[in-house]
């Protein structure tokens, strides 16, 4: 019998590594291009700029608020989509993915139309929000803690809402994967041990989902950091008022300060890299990715 010799594995490995390596090289080349176009002095100069410092501060504030709001919504939504059967479940599931696939500018435009063109009881949602905020300003003490805005559109709340609309979809997807990886029989055991559904959720499910919650929060934060399109349309890009780091890059490019734009980009890349490494570390610890 003429048995054929098993052919080498080299072409298989070579093809795999070449495809993956090329994409990795592209990203590294982009980072190198940014790094070569800026210097430590440019970064220091950017950090000394008052409006950029304000932009960094506003970015941090809005990203954290967005991450917290995303978790608050994503945990129950992910749980419902994983554990409950209800009519039109696939339809709801698909709807939640819309912010992920829709062009960012369309989300901004949709928010703008929703708040300013949709009329509820003779007023737009924007006017209703302004009325509620005015009432709240009247009853809350006059302090920086309660320094409420006068409306939503083209103001700081619009930044948060634009970031939240996209980030929350990613957080929900993460929480869904997390809950799917948990054995539902654990909740059943908790029920037989004397828990009701709520107690089983808080005492058994949630502690096991803690890494997933952290991952969802960090992903939402990172997604909010990179959001630009919906912010530009719904919150505008007013220097010092609705300027976050992504809009700073846009504004610096528009005035021809490429070095400044790249320096700010570099700050964003550094922040994103730290966050993504944290996600990978948490993911590897929980082994759900």
């Amino acid at each position: 019998m003429n048995n054929k010799k098993v052919s080498s594995d080299f072409p298989f490995y070579a093809a795999m590594w070449t495809a993956g390596g090329m994409y990795f090289a592209l990203i590294i080349a982009l980072l190198y291009a940014d790094a070569s176009y800026t210097s430590l002095d440019n970064i220091k100069e950017a950090l000394n700029d008052k409006s950029i410092r304000a932009s960094i501060w506003l970015t941090m504030q809005t990203c954290w608020i967005t991450a917290v709001l995303s978790i608050i919504v994503a945990v129950p939504t992910g749980y419902i989509l994983t554990r409950f059967k209800f009519p039109l479940k696939r339809f709801f599931d698909s709807i939640i993915d819309i912010p992920i696939v829709l062009p960012p500018l369309v989300i901004g435009l949709s928010l703008l139309i929703l708040f300013n063109q949709v009329i509820l009881f003779d007023k737009s949602i924007e006017e209703w929000c302004a009325t509620i905020l005015k009432f709240l300003r009247g009853i809350l003490p006059n302090s920086p803690v309660f320094d409420l805005p006068t409306g939503i559109t083209y103001k700081v709340p619009a930044i948060i809402l634009a970031q939240f609309t996209v980030s929350c979809a990613f957080a929900i997807r993460t929480m869904r994967n997390t809950f799917e990886s948990l054995d539902p029989r654990q909740e059943n055991v908790a029920l037989t041990l004397g828990c009701n559904k709520s107690k089983a959720f808080w005492k058994v499910v949630l502690p096991q989902a803690s890494f997933g919650i952290m991952t969802a929060g960090i992903l939402a934060w990172a997604r909010a950091l990179g959001e630009f399109g919906p912010i530009l349309v719904f919150a505008g890009a007013t220097r010092g008022k609705t300027e976050v780091l992504a809009t700073t890059v846009f504004l610096e490019i528009s005035i021809g300060n490429l070095e400044g734009a790249v320096a700010v980009s570099f700050l964003m890349v550094s922040a994103a890299l730290i966050v993504l490494i944290m996600v990978r570390l948490l993911g590897s610890k929980k082994r759900i990715w």
Binding site: Q186, N188, A190, T192, L193
Partner: protein, 212 residues
């Protein structure tokens, strides 16, 4: 006492019709059947985790058909134990009693007592990750017994164990059964296990239940 009176269950395409079974108080009942015959479904219905279409479930003389799982006050050991991964062995054994309102010291004392009986006292401070199949099953059994239920449902508690561990687990379960005097419904597909453990043995086949 566990009494199922003509219960019918429908889960998608799978149906069980008019299943009746009775295990007297403090006796050890074993339910046998091949994979997919509905053994786990019956246990989950007794525990209140699956709704039944018709019939009655009577536990210790009380009709619990519409009771929630926690109100049936029984112990449940699912297949593979299904331990809570974030809790230590001691915390999960004491979990049931604490949820049912026991004071923490009493719950932990009960956990230690059961750990001693089941020879897992050296595992009390460990988390479930890394426990062997036999150890996990013993922890799950201790967790189910901690609140002193009168009835215990064991869903293939020995299926994942090797021959030596299985013999040891059998003798430990028997010892605890005599010590604590609870009624047991034990699910298995092994005839030798049924013969060794059961005072009453039932077999389910093609949706029908028979006493053996």
């Amino acid at each position: 006492m566990i009494s199922l009176q003509n219960i019918s269950i429908k889960l998608g395409q799978f149906t069980l019709e008019n299943v009746s079974l009775e295990i007297p108080e403090s006796k050890y009942g074993v339910l046998m059947g091949s994979s997919g015959s509905g053994k786990t479904t019956i246990v989950e219905s007794i525990c209140g985790l699956k709704k039944i279409k018709s019939g009655k479930i009577i536990l210790d003389g009380i009709d619990v058909t519409n009771f929630r799982p926690g109100d049936r006050h029984l112990g449940y050991v699912p297949q593979e134990g299904v331990l809570f991964s974030t809790m230590t062995v001691k915390e999960q054994i004491a979990f049931g009693p604490i949820v049912r309102g026991w004071k923490k010291p009493a719950a932990f004392e009960r956990a230690e007592e059961l750990a001693d009986s089941l020879e897992i006292e050296h595992l009390l401070s460990r988390k479930p990750a890394g426990l062997s199949g036999g150890e996990s099953q013993r922890v799950a059994l201790a967790r189910a017994l901690a609140s002193k239920p009168n009835l215990v449902c064991l869903d293939e508690p020995l299926s994942s164990l090797d021959e030596d561990s299985r013999e040891k687990a059998c003798s430990l379960i028997k010892k605890l059964h005599q010590q604590e005097n609870f009624t047991v419904l034990h699910i298995t597909h092994s005839a030798s296990e049924a013969k060794l453990m059961g005072d009453h043995v039932f077999r389910i086949s093609e949706g029908k239940l028979k006493g053996v």
